[in-house]
């Protein structure tokens, strides 16, 4: 009886120690992972050989790893270094080489790379998707948005949106959007339309929250642009600064930029923010 009691006591102590050590271990790993540099991804030519016939599965795993890495950095509010971006780019490249039909990396590239200033890189990855997922209207739609919004190449943007409109299952509003894009390219209102459609297509809660935050920013920019248009119509000149809208009584106050930046009027009359609508400044 005494022996059993001693054994039970030892078991209890071991279990408690195990629970404490495990708790500490996970805490420590959380810290280590948020500070360690990004991993290394084997180039596609090696990864495809080393997948041993499981290219699809390897692409799932690598993509999940990249998303986790990005998510951890985002949660810890850490700004991604050049090395981190390089890791993400290579990883997305390898994932889309292993399985060029995989939709998620393209959605990820559009929602995160493009908005963080890596537009050319995002477009390069998206082009792979445009070629391989030739039934999917979303990919040319994303490229069109990038040309329109980030690169201000409205002609090219309209071209891609028109291509998206010609693909099966595309939203009927795309053909009008393409035409609108060609005409009113430099308006935030057009970007709002783009973004609303993207949010409708997104179920991932994290991504949705980020897109909704951008939508709020763009809607506010669009509102200010409308007021500037009214100002120009009534006063016959452009306002010298965004603050002039308040002094002239067009707005009571400037709406806050959800990213914490200051509103500015660009030379082309478009309203933008010093935050560039991203968290990583």
């Amino acid at each position: 009886m005494r022996r059993i009691l001693i054994l039970l006591l030892v078991l209890l102590i071991s279990l408690v120690s195990h629970a404490l050590v495990t708790f500490e271990m996970w805490r420590m790993r959380g810290q280590v992972r948020s500070t360690t540099v990004a991993g290394y991804v084997l180039p596609s030519k090696f990864s495809s050989v080393l997948a041993f016939g499981y290219k699809g599965l390897l692409s799932d795993f690598l993509f999940l790893k990249s998303v986790t890495f990005f998510g951890e950095r985002h949660l810890a509010k850490k700004i991604l270094s050049d090395g981190d971006w390089q890791y993400l780019l290579t990883s997305l490249d390898v994932v889309t080489d292993l399985d060029p039909y995989f939709e998620d990396p393209y959605v990820f590239a559009e929602a995160n790379l493009a908005w963080e200033g890596k537009v050319e890189e995002a477009n390069r990855i998206l082009e792979k998707g445009r070629k391989n997922r030739n039934w999917d209207w979303r990919i040319p739609y994303y490229i069109g948005f990038n040309y329109f919004y980030f690169l201000q190449d409205y002609e090219k943007g309209a071209e891609y949106v028109m291509e998206a409109a010609s693909r099966p299952g595309s939203h009927p509003f795309l053909s009008t959007l393409g035409a609108r894009l060609a005409y009113y390219g430099g308006k935030s209102k057009t970007a709002v339309l783009f973004l609303r459609q993207m949010i409708l297509e997104t179920t991932d809660p994290g991504l949705r929250t980020r897109l909704e935050k951008r939508l709020i920013a763009l809607e506010r920019a669009a509102e200010l642009e409308a007021k500037i248009e009214l100002f120009v119509k009534e006063q016959g000149r452009k306002p010298t600064s965004i603050e002039e809208l308040i002094t002239a009584g067009y707005v009571d106050s400037l709406p806050p930029d959800p990213y914490g930046g200051q509103w500015v009027i660009l030379k082309n009359g478009r309203v933008f923010s010093t935050s560039k609508f991203t968290d990583s400044r």
């Binding site: 499981y54 799932d60 939709e103």
Partner: protein, 271 residues
């Protein structure tokens, strides 16, 4: 033919009785179950991830069956000397090899068919949970891909049969068969990489290496031919000609291996 079928049935029952089969079945169930959890981690292509995981689970289960159960089934007769007893019956050595192989294939087919049913159940479950993300999914392509996973395992089964006639040590058979699997899955990528202009920029390839790889590409089965997992994951129906050629390639390769194995086994001396 009757003798062949009798031997095949004995081999089949012997395989089913092997306890490793339960372990492999549990492993597959684990992968299928894991699929239900992991699928939710992805943004949109949940259908693709589900099919990837199911077909990969099925493929790994098939590999475990062929490397651990089939190798044992082939080696057992020689290790335990029961081959003398079998060959003392009115059965030729060639019939022995073909009968054994038929038994092995039947065993692998039945085991994988059961696992495939469980896999279908997982797909139905995940499809029910995330029906919006299965628009591209096709049961026909999924079943075809599973059939070609079985064909790959059948080819590897023939490889195991050949090596078990060449050596009496089951470990050596295992090592050689795994090596053929590794080379077989990667030979296509290596060959096309070397053939592509990219190779010329990266590495200087010697002529001898070229010849070796070209020869290897004819000797070793190109297992990528049977890989329709990515097509199934995206519901893309491969061309019938492509499917027919893959089937033909597998069938011819199996026959060649079994004929070589029969020749070797006919001349083999047992101690």
């Amino acid at each position: 033919m009757k003798k062949l079928l009798a031997l095949a049935l004995i081999t089949f029952y012997e395989g089913i009785r092997n306890r490793s089969v339960f372990g492999i079945a549990i492993f597959s169930m684990f992968v299928f179950g894991l699929n239900v959890i992991v699928a939710g981690f992805f943004m949109r292509d949940i259908g693709k991830v589900t099919i990837d995981m199911n077909l990969s689970g099925l493929s790994v289960a098939g590999l475990l069956l062929v490397f651990f159960v089939v190798v044992n089934l082939m080696a057992k007769d020689i290790d335990r000397k029961t081959v003398h007893l079998v060959l003392s019956k009115p059965i030729t050595r060639v019939e022995y090899i073909w009968g054994k192989y038929l038994g092995v294939v039947l065993f692998v087919f039945v085991s994988m068919a059961v696992l495939f049913m469980f896999s279908c159940f997982t797909v139905i479950l995940v499809k029910g949970m995330h029906s919006d993300y299965f628009a591209q999914f096709s049961w026909t392509v999924f079943s075809l891909a599973a059939l070609f996973v079985f064909l790959k395992i059948a080819v590897l089964g023939a490889v195991v049969v050949l090596f078990s006639t060449l050596t009496s040590n089951s470990f050596i058979t295992l090592i050689f068969s795994i090596s053929v699997f590794i080379v077989g899955t990667s030979v296509e990528d290596v060959l096309f990489f070397l053939r592509s202009g990219l190779a010329a920029q990266d590495v200087a390839v010697s002529k001898t290496l070229w010849i070796v790889i070209e020869v290897v590409s004819y000797l070793v089965p190109n297992l990528a031919v049977f890989d329709y997992k990515i097509s199934a994951a995206h519901g893309l129906m491969p061309a019938w000609g492509q499917l027919g050629l893959s089937l033909g390639y597998g069938a011819v390769y199996i026959v060649v291996l079994l004929v070589v194995a029969s020749c070797v086994f006919s001349r083999r001396e047992f101690n």
